[in-house]
């Protein structure tokens, strides 16, 4: 478990165009430069928003990674919910889902 390193990858990716280029050109090489366990590496390798959320990545970091991957806002919220269904409750951090997973923005979504 190295949530710090996992978040560090995404922090750097969110703010550094060179890292974004490395991500697209050779993701494995980029990930090799961080001390990640297998699950964390898989989450990044697959762009698995749900798993990253459950592993405890801070939402203010994760939402920009989702945007970087081209994921729309409501899909991003759903991916977090599905992550909890698949992998269980958020394991660390302050961005846990404390409600029942209901949408609070349904009306806008239905437009």
């Amino acid at each position: 478990m190295s949530l710090y390193n996992l978040q560090k990858v995404l922090y750097v990716l969110n703010r550094d165009p060179a890292a974004q280029e490395s991500y697209r050109a050779d993701l494995d090489a980029l990930l090799d430069s961080y001390d990640l366990d297998d699950e964390e590496r898989r989450a990044l390798r697959d762009g698995d928003i749900g798993l990253l959320y459950v592993l405890g990545v801070n939402g203010q970091i994760l939402m920009h990674y989702a945007a970087f991957l081209g994921i729309e806002w409501f899909d991003y919220l759903d991916m977090m919910r599905k992550g909890i269904e698949r992998y269980g409750p958020v394991r660390a951090g302050i961005y846990a889902m404390t409600g029942g997973g209901d949408s609070f923005t349904v009306e806008e979504n239905s437009q």
Binding site: K8, G59, I61, H64, Y95, T98, F104
Partner: protein, 277 residues
């Protein structure tokens, strides 16, 4: 005598980035109009620089080296760090005033061990409010950060002490200074509960804030805040710091919990500095 304006406002990225998804467009326009009143009041105050006390979100500061408090000290800044299309704010340079920042920081350091940064990329916490308050991006900005994202967080009484130090610093420089605190009250942004707002909690907090009731404002624990107001509620630190700097009661100019796509109770308020003069 040189603090000429003090106020608070919301800073969520959806305010600009998801504006097109709002259902109640008339209410959205009311909120934008309240921002514009705040802009006019800042301009009417004759402010020569705007100190923005915000809670950033890993644009500059990370858990490798996380200051509880930091003041920007550069002649210009850049932002937004987010994808401009995502935030719907064009990337640009924003003027700063390194010399003013230096003088403010020196004074603050007499009572608070504040960090400083000569490089700073604005995220939505600063640039969304600036988009409304200085739409031409022509007023020098002094960015200030209070860590509200990566615990351990500064205790609320320290946020109050920081606000007091900031006031002393503003009063020690000859320039006319406006200060704005940006953040959210109760909110659960970037979680599946995004859009949830505890209006009752918000209105109670805003009542304490507008009365500038120090004891009541500091009477929260992070455990209570997390339970009642979400992780976004930790950002009350920025509003509390402004109350401490203002020293006087204020006027709530706008609040609504009915724009959930912005993922925050939308707030605009000022402290009534003139009434104390």
């Amino acid at each position: 005598m040189s603090l000429v304006y003090a106020g608070v406002c919301s800073h969520a990225p959806g305010i600009t980035g998801r504006a097109n998804l709002v259902k109640d467009k008339a209410l959205r326009e009311e909120f934008y109009a309240a921002f514009d009143v705040q802009r006019q009041e800042i301009e009417a105050s004759g402010a020569e620089a705007l100190v923005v006390v915000a809670a950033e979100h890993f644009a500059n500061f990370f858990m490798n080296n996380m200051p509880a408090y930091c003041v920007g000290m550069a002649d210009y800044y850049e932002g937004p760090i987010e994808d401009p299309e995502w935030l719907q704010i064009e990337r640009r340079k924003i003027p700063g005033n390194a010399d003013l920042s230096l003088r403010l920081t020196r004074e603050i350091m007499n009572t608070v061990d504040v960090a400083y940064a000569e490089e700073w990329k604005f995220d939505h916490g600063i640039i969304v409010p600036l988009n409304f308050l200085t739409p031409r991006f022509d007023m020098p900005v002094v960015p200030v950060n209070i860590n509200c994202q990566g615990p351990p967080l500064t205790p609320l009484p320290r946020a109050w002490a920081f606000g007091e130090a900031l006031r002393r610093a503003c009063d020690a420089v000859p320039e006319r200074i406006a200060i704005v605190g940006t953040g959210g009250i109760s909110h659960w942004p970037a979680t599946p509960d995004s859009g949830k707002i505890n209006e009752e909690w918000d209105r109670d907090f805003l009542d304490r804030l507008m009365r500038n009731d120090k004891a009541a404002l500091l009477d929260y624990t992070d455990e209570q805040t997390y339970a009642d107001a979400g992780q976004g509620g930790f950002e009350i630190r920025t509003f509390i710091a402004i109350a401490a700097a203002a020293r006087v009661p204020g006027t709530l100019q706008f609040y609504t919990a009915d724009l959930p796509i912005f993922a925050v109770g939308c707030t605009v308020a000022r402290f009534d500095l003139d009434a104390a003069a």
